[in-house]
């Protein structure tokens, strides 16, 4: 279609620093921008978690280093440098940010609410979505379907920069009077819609505005992905020759496109309630608090699958490479993802079993929710099937994928407890749900991201990440992750409510406090281990071992592109002759047949190439 344009672009002018690294139109650079952005925000979101984990383990104890000493807290006796600093702050007429949010280094309950609200908001909207959909979506889609760029490169650039705009707005919320949003990442009205109830003023407004901007960024991305995947597949890349990661990203793009407008309107209604005096969610004015929950979860349940489907796709991509076997049941993997996408629209009520919604709805939502177990089980069994009679290479990506599968199994199974509405009466709003979501999103998606970064790094930067450091990072993360989140199941079964700042206020929770201490210690280890990931990424970008074109001997098209991948991706648009996972084909010379290898060279080809899509040479 536009090959000539691209080629002349390639050969005829050097790009400036700004057009190459900042306002880049190249899908690969935009993907890398999202990757670095997501990793930085991962540290921010994790840092917030460290703060509230401190409070949960040692309630109302001053933070280390910046907090005051025990002597000062109890007797007012200045003994440390931090004490002196706090003396000065308190003497000063001006109330500083630290004084408001953590007087004497003790986390204030209102600030605690902001901390977990922003931890979840950042991790969901500024880390996992940008990494999975922004970084891997942008980088992989054109390469894996065999085209030169996204359908709308300018839209793609705008998607990244509106994402930055949304981030600036969200981060500004920490520094406005009244503090940042503190109504939870779910922002339940009327706590979120009436400022007096939370004491939060502009923080909540900025939260709403930022999420609308972030949503617009996602919309631009999803329109791009859908158009590109439908129209620009290389000749021969039929739907059932698409790699599963592309299927996952395609389905996710459709979910984003349909789900986001709902939450955007709901966020706008909150803004109207807060700023224009309407009462959409205020019962006193004739509004309905439950309306927010319906609108929010109608968006947020698909959103939860947006967080896991690309992880599933990426795991399905790495698994066959390091098992040297085709994915077991490729088509049922595709249909399972489509089924998950459909079901995601009719299960939102399971978040609202105890909300006061008609209990008859609870019964029907329980049934639809239980059905989600079916496609999830299909996927798990197919991953196991892929390992059967395989020849497994325990590389860093493979370790992360195996962790992804086992952690996803725990997360999936623990979901059955909550899906069951009578059991949910008891464990709703306890740490059980906190454990569940983290097993799915951290144990699932984030381990897939760890694996994905290592796996595609050679194609992204033309260099390898360090495998030893990668393994150290994996094992510490894996063990510490389980140390943090497994005991949360126990807290939940013991009745420990989520979102409380001080468990010691409750007699029935006091005996379980040592578990909270254990969790916090593991959380600090987990947090510290992520520094190894950052070091590995940034060191390897500049100093890593130079990578060859196809270091993993993988079949899909991105490995057919030269390394480093030039602007325009391929020397000539590849023709596709095979499915994506032709590993260990009998009688073939090598144990892998790239998708581009014509049939003459293999007895197990699939006939003549079928041209697909609008791209033609």
């Amino acid at each position: 279609m536009n090959d000539h344009a691209h080629e002349s672009h390639d050969h005829h002018h050097e790009e400036s620093f700004v057009s190459k690294y900042i306002f880049s139109l190249d899908h690969k650079m935009i993907g890398k921008q999202f990757l670095i952005f997501g990793l930085i925000m991962f540290m921010v979101g994790g840092g917030l978690a460290m703060l509230f984990r401190w409070q949960l383990a040692w309630p109302d104890k001053p933070l280390p280093i910046i907090g005051v000493s025990k002597a000062y807290q109890e007797e007012g006796e200045v003994t440390t440098a931090a004490d002196r600093k706090w003396e000065e702050r308190f003497d000063d007429d001006k109330e500083t940010w630290l004084e408001t949010n953590m007087p004497s280094g003790v986390i204030d309950p209102a600030f605690f609410n902001s901390l977990f609200t922003m931890h979840a908001t950042i991790m969901v909207f500024f880390v996992v979505v940008p990494l999975l959909v922004g970084a891997f979506g942008n980088f992989l889609i054109p390469l894996m379907i065999g085209t030169r760029d996204m359908a709308f490169p300018v839209l793609n650039m705008l998607s990244f920069w509106s994402n930055i705009l949304g981030t600036i707005i969200m981060m500004a919320g920490f520094f406005v009077p009244g503090g940042h949003a503190a109504a939870g990442w779910t922002g339940y009205a009327p706590l979120s819609s009436i400022a007096e109830y939370s004491g939060v003023d502009w923080g909540q407004n900025l939260w709403c505005i930022s999420l609308i901007v972030m949503g617009i960024s996602s919309l631009m991305g999803s329109i791009n992905y859908i158009t590109t995947i439908i129209n620009m597949r290389a000749p021969g890349m039929t739907w059932f020759r698409l790699p599963l990661a592309i299927w996952a990203l395609f389905i996710v793009a459709i979910l984003l496109l349909l789900a986001f407008p709902v939450v955007a309107s709901a966020l706008a209604l909150i803004l109207f309630d807060r700023m224009a005096g309407t009462s959409f969610f205020a019962a006193a004015g004739g509004g309905e608090p439950l309306l927010w929950q319906h609108l929010f979860w109608f968006f947020a349940h698909p959103e939860v699958y947006i967080l896991i489907l690309p992880g599933m796709g990426m795991a399905s991509e790495m698994l066959p490479v390091f098992a040297r076997k085709p994915v077991f049941g490729y088509k049922s993997m595709v249909f399972a993802m489509i089924a998950i996408a459909f079901l995601s629209w009719i299960v939102w009520g399971h978040h609202m079993f105890q909300s006061g919604m008609n209990p008859a709805l609870g019964a029907s939502f329980m049934t639809t929710t239980m059905l989600i177990a079916v496609p999830s089980a299909i996927k798990t069994f197919n991953w196991l099937g892929t390992l059967h009679r395989a020849s497994i290479r325990f590389t860093v990506p493979m370790l992360n994928v195996l962790a992804f599968i086992s952690m996803f199994v725990i997360g999936g199974l623990s979901g059955i407890y909550m899906a069951n509405s009578p059991v949910d009466i008891y464990i709703h709003d306890t740490y059980y749900i906190v454990a569940h979501i983290h097993y799915v999103v951290f144990g699932g998606s984030v381990f897939a991201i760890f694996g994905g970064i290592f796996h595609w790094f050679p194609k992204m930067y033309g260099r390898h990440m360090n495998a030893t450091l990668g393994k150290i990072h994996f094992w510490i993360s894996f063990l510490a992750f389980n140390g943090v989140f497994f005991p949360m199941h126990i807290l939940g079964v013991g009745g420990h409510m989520r979102r409380i700042a001080n468990p010691m206020q409750y007699e029935f929770l006091q005996p379980m406090q040592p578990i909270n201490v254990f969790i916090t210690v593991c959380a600090f280890i987990l947090g510290a281990a992520q520094i190894l990931l950052l070091i590995n990424v940034f060191w390897s970008i500049f100093r890593g071992k130079v990578a060859e074109q196809n270091p993993w001997e993988a079949t899909t098209l991105e490995w057919h592109a030269p390394t480093p991948v030039p602007h325009g991706n391929f020397d000539a648009i590849p023709h596709v002759y095979h499915g994506p996972y032709e590993y260990s084909v009998p009688d073939a010379e090598a144990d892998w047949i790239p998708q581009t290898q014509p049939n003459g060279e293999s007895e197990h080809g699939e006939g003549e190439p079928v041209p697909a899509g609008a791209t033609a040479d």
């Binding site: 009327p190 019962a283 390992l387 009679r389 009578p422 206020q505 009998p586």
Partner: protein, 226 residues
């Protein structure tokens, strides 16, 4: 390993319907534990047995329609069975039409930042009259009798939670939600708020006192004005 034995961590159950909830919890615990152990066993066997070895090639297997049908059907049957087993419990606890009648106490519970207001209708059995008894954070009920509660909230959403009763229900401003329980053991139990309700959410705490029949009468005689 107590850490793996989830049911052991449940607080003591003191309500009539709590046992039904606990039974479902234990059932799901066993179903999910067996599935988890089976999957992990297969995963570990495959990882060890099919690790890379010099000279052995992976086998080219694309899938198996029979297996796909088997595990799709098996999972569907199990989850449907779980759903069907759960429905009667859900209906019993939450459907107002199935609430047992003849309550030994009727109380209005009102969540507000950051307390639970309990209002007894008083001897005349009507709310909004002079003999109403209003208590802050204190709910007194008789043991082995049905208690009807109408739950509401003044400001934001709160959630009425008594872990030992296995009962949780959100309180919504502008709406009365009916719920019931029957406590089986005298004692005092905490009533935390389980839904984030503002900066004082942590520590929003009431107390449920379950009295023996005589104690409850005595309490009523002492506190309810004629």
């Amino acid at each position: 390993m107590k850490w793996l034995n989830f049911p052991a961590w449940l607080p003591e159950n003191v309500s009539t319907f709590g046992q039904g909830v606990d039974n479902l919890f234990v059932l799901i615990y066993w179903v999910t534990s067996i599935v988890f152990l089976a999957v992990m066993a297969v995963l570990i066997v495959f990882i060890v047995k099919y690790r890379f070895q010099e000279g052995r090639k992976a086998e080219y297997i694309e899938g198996s329609t029979t297996l796909e049908i088997v595990w799709t059907a098996a999972t569907t049957v199990i989850v449907f069975a779980l759903a069907m087993l759960s429905l009667p419990q859900w209906n019993r606890i939450k459907f107002p039409s199935q609430f047992p009648g003849n309550p030994g106490a009727v109380v209005q519970v009102n969540g507000k930042q950051f307390n639970w207001d309990m209002t007894y209708p008083g001897p005349d059995g009507e709310w909004g009259t002079d003999d109403d008894l209003q208590l802050e954070n204190q709910l007194h009920v008789p043991v082995n009798e049905v208690v009807h509660i109408r739950l509401t909230a003044d400001d934001v959403i709160h959630s009425f939670f008594v872990p030992q009763l296995r009962l949780k229900q959100d309180a919504l401003p502008g709406r009365f939600i009916n719920m019931w329980f029957e406590a089986t053991k005298p004692g005092t139990y905490e009533i935390p708020c389980a839904e984030l309700c503002g900066f004082g959410h942590s520590g929003m705490l009431g107390y449920l006192t379950v009295h023996t029949a005589e104690d409850y009468e005595a309490w009523k005689n002492e506190r309810w004005t004629e």
